[in-house]
């Protein structure tokens, strides 16, 4: 009838032909999308207490009413038949339904008992870049402020930690200096190892729109495999895994040797440093590394780059000198505005901090930074890895403002949390990989996971899955659905999903977004923040968690805001966030404006206004150009394991698939994982499309159907597997190496062999 109405003006149908649920009394409420770090604005339609529709919010400048296929269908997962609605406690190997109160009593008593017997550092929490800001905040307050342990880390360690250390080492402050508006100003987009068409599709649509409507706009895809992004790009350049380090240095060589350096900018606003080299890969338990910065000068940096002359690095990069020079010419042309975008290709990297530094080097040498259209832009994967994990600080070393190692930061936390200063420990304990190693060793005897599925998403899951099943560790899992992680739990707590609770998220462009609860959660499912508060109260910390059930997210946010008060990170007040489609921090309350471009005194009032640029994260206001060399990956293809394995996502599925595989249309679109092979490799091995093959590494084996000439095509000698499928656990084969600085694992490079199954 809708189609008829659109074609034939004035057509009418009898009232009784309209079904009851088309009466039009749908209430639309705004919020951010549940899925990726783009942070699209959505409007959720509710009717008679149910979420019945989703559309893009035209008032949100992020997406201007557009969503991707996951966004449009997100609410459908909540009607899945196996939704967790009751707490479950494992008794004699079987899960028994329990009241939520009893389950929370058990969680608190187990936590207390473990602390009394084995000490504060025997309990841990593992949260998420998909936790809301209030959820992350109360977890941090409980662990660091109440119990007094730094055993809190999160899954954002697996996705954004290298981006964070890249920011901190180059600029002294986290998160991008630009915003999505850069897209509409840029002439050139260089995508460094990220399949943006599938992973940040709405932003990619904005780039395509820019290219359609303006002259002289180019998209360059620099990647290790051919994807939908490559096909849409103006130029696709394939490089050998790990070669990005050398490519970035080679571009810097070209900038210097062609006289394309913005000397004035470099002199006034940067310094040069080098760090340690041969820094290891984190493969051993209790691996420890501390970098040491040494100042160098421009001439020393130039001399270092001699080894990265484009023709010298063709072999290790797999990229011709001609293409490297082409890339350099785009960055070096003062008339072209350039945005570099990256995500997991650079972050999930055993030299992730380094490669982040190196791309910043390119923008700093040319002065193409902190201006509309000139932007090195680290894209975030999860919807609130910025807002929750990084800004609230749900990492072992972090506090809501600053780090545990800093006395002033501990004093501030103690003051706001109203706890004794001495209670907050000064030494970080376990990052994510080390946390699960500690579970395996028996050092951690209680772990509570929220909003994450580590039994699918950790690297080398076939070590950490048996670890979590050991009797030595009591496992509590909060989730919306049963997962392989809840399968190893002693207690399962039913969590409210997204629009079933109020909350706030922070996206890639520093935009904080708020939403009100729109529908009730089913059964006993409750917000994670509330369950944390209830456990805290049962542990005797009720005075530190005086929040109301009805309004706790507002009360928590107002308390949390205090940590970021000040010109450099002020968060918008709740009344603004309730009205608008978010606000970008630093938020200037005097003018009601967001700060779109940081460190540029024209746009950022936090700058020293006597300078054109002020990188105020650093005490001297100068950004750092880092000398970082190429170092190989820890495991390189050889005769026994001759293929590179890269893992990642597809547009239809979010992460470990616990939500999207329960949405019929998304599940039907991509019902299972697969292994992409180059057609020549497949032919040589006699493997046909969809034939079952084994992906075998030194860690384990995964059986998958082959995908040849379908969605993506890896280069010869490489294979790609999406990790959304819990029935085809590719992380059983991956390697738990990590960047020694960020501690972020490398999911993009290990060695495998392929055999017919």
């Amino acid at each position: 009838m809708a189609a008829a109405a659109s074609m034939i003006p004035g057509i009418l149908f009898a009232k009784d032909q309209y079904h009851e649920n088309l009466t039009g009394d749908i209430k639309w409420t705004k919020g951010p999308c549940r899925f990726c770090g783009v942070g699209c604005g959505i409007l959720v339609g509710t009717q008679k207490g149910k979420a019945v529709a989703v559309k893009g919010d035209p008032a949100c400048s992020v997406n201007k009413g557009l969503l991707c296929v996951k966004g449009y269908h997100q609410i459908m997962c909540t009607s899945s038949a196996d939704r967790l609605t009751k707490a479950l406690v494992k008794k004699n190997g079987t899960y028994v339904e329990t009241s939520l109160d009893e389950a929370l009593d058990l969680v608190a008593s187990k936590m207390k008992e473990t602390i009394e017997k084995h000490g504060k550092d025997s309990v841990a929490m593992y949260t998420s870049g998909q936790s809301t800001i209030p959820e992350g905040y109360v977890a941090s307050k409980l662990m660091k402020g109440a119990i007094g342990t730094n055993n809190l880390d999160c899954n954002a360690r697996l996705c954004m930690a290298s981006a964070v250390t890249g920011f901190l080492t180059s600029f002294g402050a986290d998160e991008p200096m630009g915003c999505y508006s850069d897209i509409e100003y840029a002439n050139v987009f260089v995508l460094w190892g990220n399949n943006m068409a599938e992973m940040h599709p709405v932003l990619f649509s904005r780039m395509l729109d820019n290219r359609l409507t303006r002259k002289n706009v180019r998209i360059i895809d620099l990647a290790t495999r051919t994807t939908r992004t490559s096909k849409a790009a103006d130029k696709s350049i394939l490089f050998t895994p790990q070669g990005d380090l050398a490519i970035a240095n080679a571009i810097c060589y070209e900038l210097i040797n062609n006289g394309w350096v913005n000397k004035d900018f470099v002199e006034k606003h940067t310094v040069f440093n080098k760090g340690k080299t041969n820094i290891g890969y984190g493969l051993e338990d209790n691996f420890s590394f501390k970098d040491k910065a040494e100042p160098i000068d421009f001439d020393q940096f130039k001399e270092f780059l001699e080894d990265y002359r484009p023709d010298k690095v063709e072999a290790i990069t797999g990229v011709s000198a001609k293409d490297i020079k082409y890339l350099a010419s785009l960055y070096g042309d003062p008339n072209l505005k350039v945005v570099s975008f990256w995500c997991m290709g650079m972050n999930q990297h055993t030299r992730g901090t380094w490669i982040n530094n190196l791309v910043y080097n390119i923008h700093l040498l040319t002065g193409k930074i902190s201006q509309p259209g000139n932007s090195p832009f680290s894209l975030t994967g999860q919807p609130s890895a910025c807002g929750t994990a990084r800004e609230v600080g749900t990492f072992t070393h972090k506090l809501p403002h600053g780090v545990v190692m800093n006395k002033k930061d501990r004093e501030l936390a103690a003051k706001i949390w109203k706890v004794p200063y001495e209670r907050i420990p000064a030494k970080p304990t376990y990052h994510a990989t080390e946390m699960f190693r500690a579970v395996d060793r028996g050092d951690i005897k209680f772990i509570w996971t929220q909003v994450t599925n580590p039994m699918v998403s950790l690297p080398k899951t076939n070590r950490y899955r048996p670890a979590m099943q050991k009797d030595s560790c009591f496992v509590v899992v909060s989730d919306v659905f049963p997962t392989p992680t809840s399968d190893v739990a002693d207690v399962i707590l039913p969590a409210a999903w997204h629009v079933e609770k109020s909350g706030l998220y922070g996206n890639s462009e520093r935009r904080t977004q708020h939403w009100e609860q729109m529908v009730d959660a089913p059964g006993d499912a409750a917000p994670d923040a509330w369950m944390t508060i209830e456990v805290a109260r049962r542990l005797g910390y009720g005075d530190l968690f005086p929040y109301s059930r009805e309004n706790h997210h507002e009360e928590i946010y107002n308390e949390y805001r205090q940590f970021h008060a000040g010109k450099k990170h002020n968060m918008a007040p709740l009344e603004v966030l309730k009205k608008e489609s978010g606000a970008i921090w630093p938020y200037i309350e005097e003018t009601g404006k967001s700060t779109k471009w940081r460190y540029n005194s024209k746009y950022d009032p936090a700058c020293d206004q006597s300078k054109e640029f002020d990188f105020y994260g650093k005490p001297n206001g100068k950004a750092v150009i880092w000398q970082r060399p190429f170092e190989p990956a820890p495991e390189i293809p050889d005769q026994e394991y001759p293929f590179w394995l890269c893992t990642g996502r597809v547009i239809e599925h979010w992460h470990t698939g616990s939500m999207t595989r329960r949405i019929p249309v998304l599940h039907q679109a991509v019902p299972n994982a697969y292994v992409e092979l180059h057609p020549d490799d497949a032919e040589r091995m006699g493997i046909r499309n969809k034939e079952k093959v084994k992906v075998i590494s030194r860690r384990g084996v995964t059986v998958l159907p082959a995908s040849i000439n379908e969605r993506g095509m890896p280069a010869k000698g490489q294979v790609f597997v999406p990790f959304f499928d819990e029935n085809m656990l590719i992380n059983d084969t991956t390697l738990d190496s990590f960047c020694p600085i960020s501690k972020e694992p490398d999911y993009k490079k290990c060695a495998v062999r392929i055999e017919k199954a």
Binding site: A4, L12, F13, P671
Partner: protein
């Protein structure tokens, strides 16, 4: 099997007769407009054979001047569904 919807234009003067004919078919739901000579027709069959038979039946109805397919939804069992090949888009 497919649930399909059509905009159906009857032959001049044949709207009421067409409504009656279509309503007699158990695989058809009929939603006539109250002010135009247009009928929205929704069909829903159980398997391929029924769908093909229904198509042949509809093709023989002389009272239909024009039939426009608006949408279709395939209700196949997901286990039997092949991954879609996007390569030739």
């Amino acid at each position: 099997m497919p649930v399909k919807s059509y905009i159906t234009f009857p032959q001049p003067g044949k709207k009421e007769l067409l409504i009656k004919i279509l309503q007699e078919n158990k695989y058809c739901e009929v939603l006539p407009s109250v002010n135009k000579d247009i009928i929205v027709l929704i069909t829903d069959t159980i398997n391929d054979e029924q769908e093909e038979a229904l198509q042949r039946t509809i093709e023989t109805i002389k009272e239909i001047e024009h039939l426009t397919l608006v949408s279709g939804f395939n209700d196949n069992n997901p286990q039997e569904h092949d991954s879609i090949n996007y390569d030739n888009e």
